[in-house]
């Protein structure tokens, strides 16, 4: 007979089966269990892949049993694929300096003394984060202002909005080198050009999300405001703005993520001075794979933190508005 689609139908019957939760039920059935299993599988695959990926390197021993060959593959200076613990170590060393040798390994690993120098990964992360945040603020504000103008001015809606939508389809990041170089030749360097790229990237989603949000009130709600003879101002603050907030936060999450991308790409053409993008580029110049991976992990952590921060702001706002949605 045919197998059937296992689709939930009707109300959920959580706990209907009850009984004790076995280990396999926790690992394969819960919410976090499967994620942990998949992450563990990826790590295992990663370790396993280190040998075949690095086997071609001249510094690899061609003889010996599998264990020694794997040990060598996981400890290479410039591997094709570094092992996860190498990356972890690089993160530790590039933020807190070399491990003090006079202590046991784990206490040494967690004893940290941060020196704020251009060699420190945290310094680069902060460089990237600061231009990300400045760009995000500029782009977010610009996006909101543009959306408010577009919603209230028909001329702008008809003439500007199509271009904003169309420009979404254009690889805007390609313009990044121009912005950096042109502003550089005008004497503007450092944080601002990168922030401008970030702002340029992230105002699009904010504008589009906010236009959607500000026009999301139902015609009935707008009619209600008309029966009160409410001013445009009152309609905006009492109806349009609160209605737009969920849209705003959704688009801000997208915006801060691509703001970070903008900052990283903005650090590429300046010839690698500071920032995570610069670390990626120097790592790529000098074949420092471990450094690239560490910068990549740092960028991922920044992105996760930034998105989580916006999420937190969303929760606080929603709670302040009475926890709707």
């Amino acid at each position: 007979m045919t197998t059937e689609a296992a689709l939930p139908s009707g109300p959920a019957r959580s706990g209907a089966r009850g009984g004790g939760r076995t280990v396999s039920a926790v690992l394969f059935g819960g919410r976090t269990g499967p994620v942990l299993v998949i992450v563990a599988a990826i790590l295992a695959l990663w370790y396993a892949a280190c040998l075949p990926m690095n086997a071609g390197l001249p510094s690899m021993p061609t003889e010996g049993d599998l264990a020694t060959r794997y040990q060598a593959a996981w400890a290479l200076e410039r591997p094709v694929l570094p092992s996860p613990h190498q990356i972890l170590m690089e993160l530790r060393v590039s933020t807190c300096g070399r491990l003090p040798s006079d202590q046991p390994f784990w206490s040494a690993f967690f004893s940290c003394e941060i020196r704020w120098t251009p060699r420190n990964l945290l310094f680069h992360a902060w460089t990237t984060l600061s231009s990300t945040l400045v760009g995000f603020l500029m782009g977010g504000l610009l996006g909101i202002v543009l959306a408010v103008l577009i919603v209230h001015m028909k001329t702008l809606e008809k003439s500007l909005m199509p271009w904003i939508i169309a420009s979404q389809t254009v690889p805007i990041l390609a313009v990044a080198p121009i912005v950096i170089v042109v502003l550089g030749s005008l004497g503007i360097t450092g944080l601002l050009p990168k922030s401008i790229i970030s702002a340029y990237l992230c105002f699009f989603p904010v504008t589009i999300g906010m236009v959607k949000g500000l026009t999301s009130p139902h015609p009935i709600d707008l009619d209600l405001m008309r029966t009160y003879d409410a001013s445009v101002w009152a309609t905006f603050w009492k109806l349009r703005w609160p209605a737009a907030l969920p849209f705003l936060f959704a688009s801000l999450k997208v915006a801060i993520a691509i703001s970070l991308v903008g900052a990283i790409v903005g650090e590429l053409p300046t010839g690698a001075q500071a920032g995570l993008g610069a670390r990626l580029l120097t790592g790529s110049y000098y074949g420092q794979t471990v450094q690239i991976w560490a910068a990549l992990i740092a960028a991922a952590a920044l992105a996760a933190l930034a998105v989580a921060a916006v999420g937190l702001a969303e929760r606080i706002t929603v709670a302040a508005l009475g926890g709707r949605r």
């Binding site: 007979m1 139908s9 009707g10 109300p11 019957r13 959580s14 706990g15 209907a16």
Partner: protein, 287 residues
């Protein structure tokens, strides 16, 4: 009148009890649905919800049975248990002498939902042919059956339209044609006209009655409208909520060719009164 759909090419042969329904309705005593001590409990975060409790029910072939009651009384749940869309937690239920699961796998019933549930990317005709495609009927046969059933529900000429190009009443008629297309002996209808306005509903009620008289199918019909139940049914099952159970079973033997006019007659009003009394009793029991 429309000829009863008796084609024998439905892939799954009906179980022992389901054959020859139309042949002789008078002695159609073979039960189509039998429920004994049927209970269904949902576990929710707020504790258990007793959707059905100790339901005993017999539905004979050829009957038109209405399940009536206030919202939340389990009438839809009962229909879904018959259709194996929901599984009882206690008691037994047989559909055509089979397990509901086996009956569903043999495609022994057609189900009409509260909403038309037509696929917007298929034309009306293709929607009616959907179950036939799934059952693997040949293309010519599919087309013939779609044409016949669309004509049966007065939708001839709308074959190539998309569902969203039709009115709500027409959409629901198309979904009835879809349920009829594979000629199941049992028709399960879950408030099929609930979303329609009174005038359209009256008209569709009349058409449904004619359809039932012509095809001799067994119909289980969920509704919360007393006049609708009394007008359509041979048997009315009154249910009450929390826990969902049967309060009263009322036989209703108006002639099969009844028209909307009978709703003014004293007999009709008497039955309606008894249904209302049953509903009220169920409520006072609960509150």
């Amino acid at each position: 009148m429309v000829e009863a759909a008796r084609a024998k090419t439905v892939p799954a042969p009906a179980g022992d009890g389901a054959t020859g329904i139309a042949a002789d309705r008078a002695k159609a005593a073979a039960p189509v649905v039998t429920a004994r001590g049927l209970s269904l409990t949902f576990q929710t975060n707020d504790g258990p919800v007793y959707a059905l409790k100790d339901v005993d029910l017999d539905i004979a072939a050829g009957e038109f049975v209405s399940l009536i009651g206030p919202s939340g009384c389990g009438k839809t749940t009962l229909l879904r248990v018959i259709a194996d869309l929901e599984q009882a937690t206690a008691g037994t239920i047989r559909v055509n002498g089979l397990d509901p699961d086996a009956a569903r796998r043999q495609r022994q019933y057609g189900y009409v939902f509260q909403a038309p549930g037509l696929f917007p990317w298929r034309t009306v005709e293709k929607n009616v042919m959907l179950p036939l495609e799934i059952f693997g009927l040949p293309a010519a046969e599919r087309r013939a059956r779609a044409a016949k059933n669309l004509e049966l529900v007065n939708l001839k000429g709308f074959e190539k339209k998309y569902p969203w190009q039709l009115s709500g009443g027409m959409q629901q008629r198309a979904s009835i044609a879809r349920a009829l297309s594979f000629d199941p002996a049992l028709l399960l209808m879950d408030e099929p006209f609930g979303a329609l306005d009174e005038i359209v509903r009256d008209k569709l009620n009349g058409q449904l009655l004619a359809l039932w008289a012509a095809t001799g199918k067994t119909v289980v019909f969920v509704t919360h409208s007393i006049p609708e139940a009394v007008f359509l049914s041979t048997k009315i099952v009154v249910m009450s909520p929390r826990p969902g159970r049967i309060i009263d079973v009322i036989d209703c033997d108006f002639p099969r060719d009844r028209t909307l006019d009978i709703r003014e007659t004293p007999e009709f009003l008497a039955v309606a009164h008894r249904v209302r009394e049953g509903l009220r009793a169920g409520h006072s029991y609960d509150d």
